[in-house]
């Protein structure tokens, strides 16, 4: 039984095929990258995994369980956490309350949720700002909060959607440190990213797609040197 | 069979007036994305203006239309500019602020009118209010026929305005995509003011047309606001053609309901249609066509 895999995953919006016959496997404990030029369907893949969009055809299996047709909240309970590309802080709650709301995913008791939330906040280095209202945070902190919230749901698989976008180089470096920390704690991560250095640095395996279709799957080195990938990003010579 | 045709025809005629109410509402909802819970009250104000002009100046309601419409346009513009637009900048827990503001405005309008005119029912009896013409075995109420005709004319003028004039196109552009419209140099603030005024003017027209065949009292606004919603949702938000179709459908449905089920349940017909559409056909009839 694989940890996570998709089989012939396809999503069509009317006549537009956004995701076309994608099949890939993710091993537990690894960081799997999903890259491709703008509009290639990366976030749509996440939305399919997450239950946000219904699948047109194909299957998603998580620890042997089929995810097709399950509602988003159920998929979260099964152990898949997710961040959004355009972050969605719960603006009128504090940082701590935001994360507690997630922590309630695994418990019904307020003290336990608070404990877990504080733990996660410390892990993500947001502990000092725990009483700040979420709407007052900088973009870098919002992204941290987004990750903290996903972590607090107690996932086994974490989907990170373009967490580095809009960050300064220093913030990006800090982000990479955090992601590695998460992986080292035993988490499996699928990361959608645009920024090549980040992806090449941290991923164990990469899938590159364009127009919803697979171009190549493999190790970072293999993918980086693949002419089709270079063409997709830079266009033909 | 005759009864059915008669009922159907009355429904269509009434539907023409309803369509005007719905058109005003759908424009406002399309452009500002707010639910105007004062719509019926605006119509009511126009009806009182028409009534006063009839009582004291003996002006025929159909001519008063030409006074009521601009007056309500102005009132609508003022409301949008001073009461609704400023709310856009306020960050409150309830996004329905604008809606609630219109509730307040509706209340104030109703009470001011009640203060001036009291709650007793008033009516306007023109020479043709109770005249009927007979054609094809069906009787048509003259006032309703004229009302339908004027309503149709106004609708055509509205379409011409929206399709052919610059302002009209700006209104449609803002309704479709406010940010894009802003980027194209359209003054969105001004357009919202204009649109609310236009919506109010259309409601005013409906009111003037309605006065000879209805009765008037301050609380008449509420039911019409609800009818406007039904029409708007039925036809599809922001769809002008939808509003026309919706208006006629509602008119016919109410007419059939009054005849075949019961007079008392007439208003419920609209509500039930409303719910059914909200649940099963959220895009409104618009979803079935490509309009």
């Amino acid at each position: 039984m694989s940890f996570f895999e998709t089989q012939h995953l396809t999503k069509a919006f009317g006549g537009l095929i956004a995701v076309n016959d994608l099949s890939f496997k993710v091993e537990q404990g690894k960081i799997y990258g999903l890259i491709g030029p703008n509009g290639s369907g990366k976030t749509t893949v996440f939305n399919l995994i997450n239950g946000y969009y219904p699948i047109t055809s194909g299957t998603i299996l998580f620890e042997g369980q089929e995810l097709n047709g399950l509602p988003t909240w159920k998929i979260c309970k099964l152990g898949i956490g997710r961040t959004f590309q355009i972050v969605k802080p719960l603006r009128r709650m504090t940082v701590l309350e935001n994360v507690m709301a997630s922590a309630f995913n695994r418990t019904a008791r307020e003290e336990e949720s608070r404990e877990k939330a504080l733990e996660v906040l410390e892990f993500c280095e947001l502990l000092k700002k725990r009483d700040y209202p979420a709407k007052g945070l900088t973009i870098g902190d919002r992204k941290r909060l987004e990750i903290a919230r996903a972590l607090a749901t107690g996932p086994k698989l974490l989907l990170l959607d373009e967490t580095m976008a809009g960050l300064t180089p220093q913030e990006q470096a800090d982000g990479v440190v955090l992601i590695r920390k998460i992986r080292d704690s035993g988490m499996t991560i699928i990361i959608v990213e645009h920024i090549m250095q980040v992806i090449m640095n941290i991923c164990d395996q990469i899938l590159c797609i364009n127009y919803g279709q697979e171009i190549v799957q493999g190790s970072p080195v293999e993918v980086a040197n693949n002419p089709a990938v270079i063409e997709a990003y830079l266009g033909r010579e | 069979m005759e009864v059915f045709v008669q009922t159907f025809v009355s429904g269509v005629l009434m539907g023409g007036i309803y369509a005007l109410v719905g058109l005003g509402m759908t424009l406002i909802m399309g452009v500002m994305k707010i639910i105007n819970l004062a719509h019926g009250q605006l119509m009511m104000v126009a009806m009182y203006i028409t009534y006063v002009l009839f009582e004291y100046l003996h002006l025929d309601p159909y001519f008063s239309l030409l006074i009521a419409m601009p007056t309500l346009f102005l009132l609508g513009a003022i409301i949008q500019k001073y009461f609704l637009n400023p709310l856009l900048k306020v960050d409150s827990i309830l996004p329905e602020n604008q809606v609630l503001m219109t509730v307040g405005i509706g209340m104030v309008l109703t009470e001011i009118i009640r203060f001036i005119f009291h709650s007793d029912y008033k009516s306007v009896k023109t020479s043709y209010s109770s005249d009927f013409i007979y054609a094809g075995g069906i009787s048509y109420n003259v006032a309703m026929v004229i009302a339908f005709g004027i309503a149709a004319l106004l609708t055509l003028l509205l379409f011409f305005f929206l399709l052919k004039t610059d302002i009209g196109r700006s209104v449609r552009a803002t309704a479709q995509n406010k940010e894009a419209a802003l980027l194209m140099g359209i003054n969105a603030e001004w357009i919202t003011i204009f649109t609310y005024g236009l919506g109010a003017a259309l409601a005013a027209a409906a009111g003037s047309l309605l006065l000879p065949i209805y009765y008037l009292f301050p609380d008449i606004g509420g039911p019409f606001t609800l009818k406007a919603f039904v029409i708007t949702i039925l036809g599809g938000l922001g769809s002008t053609v939808g509003a026309i179709v919706g208006g006629v459908v509602l008119g016919v449905a109410e007419s059939l309901g009054a005849t075949y089920i019961s007079m008392a349940l007439k208003d419920a017909v609209g509500m039930v249609i409303f719910l059914l559409v909200l649940i099963f056909l959220p895009g409104g009839l618009k979803a079935w066509t490509k309009i």
Binding site: K77, A101, S102, K135 | I35, I93, L94, G104, G222
Partner: protein
């Protein structure tokens, strides 16, 4: 939280001794009605202010509770007081059904749907004469001559309601409700079933509103569809109580209830007889003006904008915005 508990005790104590100090039935009646609105407003606020589902149809639950109690007397031949036990649960059933139908609608569409359902209930109650006696309404014998038992019952209901909501807000449910309000999609991704929690919120909200309705039947001894299913006098009043007091706060609706009821009565009685008669005619007008003013300048209500109000009086510096902790 401790601080709030102590300062809440003072009004509670005042309310406890009120009817013993004030002998007039007229003023007792006003307070009873105000306490009833504490329940309705707080219930509405739980669904709208905390969970973000703005209902324009709370009259549905109030009327259901009232008619449950009334029908106990007219159709079941038992005392209307049984309605106090049944009114809440029946209202919950109605609420769950409405939620099942309407929660798929977001934002303003949900509000519109609640208006429609409210009107349908009102019309059906008016027309289904065999069941409800239509516009004749239901008339029962008032159990107590004195207002005092009703007063303490109302006070008990209000205190129970506010306390229950306080506990709910602090619990997992409360966090889920607010998460849904702030961002339903994010909440779903956090493992919160929006439908389930909206329904839970609606269940609590409709329960207490139904209870208030049953109380109303027993207290006023007369109801008709026009009053208890009224869009303006019940549904919109509930919204106003919430807004003027402060949406999304615990003490907002209680404050709002007393402000609204006292204000309404002040005007309706022409400032308790001190001003000429025509002032009474304007009481709804004053309401409308108040709504406009509050929405425009005090959108978070008296409690929500309390720091802002204090600031204007004392010219202090602004503080951070209140969050779930208030």
């Amino acid at each position: 939280m401790k601080k709030m508990r102590w300062s809440a005790l003072i009004p509670l104590l005042l309310l406890l001794v009120f009817p013993l100090v004030i002998q007039s039935d007229y003023y007792r009646h006003i307070f009873i009605i105000a306490l009833m609105w504490v329940v309705i407003g707080s219930s509405w606020n739980l669904l709208a202010g905390y969970t973000g589902q703005v209902s324009f149809g709370h009259a549905i639950f109030f009327g259901t509770g009232a008619y449950t109690a009334g029908l106990c007397a007219t159709k079941l031949g038992i005392s209307a007081w049984w309605g106090m036990l049944l009114g809440g649960p029946v209202a919950v059933l109605v609420g769950l059904f409405i939620g099942w139908v309407c929660f798929r609608l977001r934002g303003p569409y949900f509000a519109l749907a609640t208006i429609a359902v409210g009107e349908i209930f009102r019309i059906v109650a008016t027309v289904w004469r065999d069941l409800t006696d239509g516009m004749q309404g239901i008339l029962i014998m008032q159990t107590f001559r004195s207002k005092i038992p009703y007063y303490y019952l109302a006070l008990f209901l209000a205190a129970l309601c506010v306390y229950a909501i306080h506990r709910v807000i602090k619990s997992k449910w409360g966090y889920c409700f607010v998460a849904i309000r702030e961002d339903q999609d994010a909440a779903e991704s956090m493992g919160i079933s929006a439908f389930r929690y909206k329904s839970l919120s609606l269940a609590v909200s409709s329960f207490f509103t139904g209870l208030a309705g049953a109380f109303y039947m027993n207290y006023m001894a007369f109801i008709d569809p026009h009053v208890v299913f009224s869009l303006h006098y019940i549904s919109i009043m509930a919204i106003l109580v919430g807004i003027i007091g402060g949406v999304g706060t615990l003490w907002g609706p209680p404050v709002g209830a007393f402000v609204m009821v006292l204000l309404q009565e002040t005007f309706r009685s022409s400032f308790f007889g001190l001003l000429p008669k025509w002032v009474s005619e304007g009481h709804v007008l004053v309401f409308g003006v108040l709504v406009i003013f509050v929405i425009r300048y005090m959108a978070n209500g008296i409690v929500g904008d309390w720091s802002k109000i204090k600031r204007i009086w004392s010219k202090e510096k602004p503080e951070p915005v209140a969050t779930i902790g208030s």
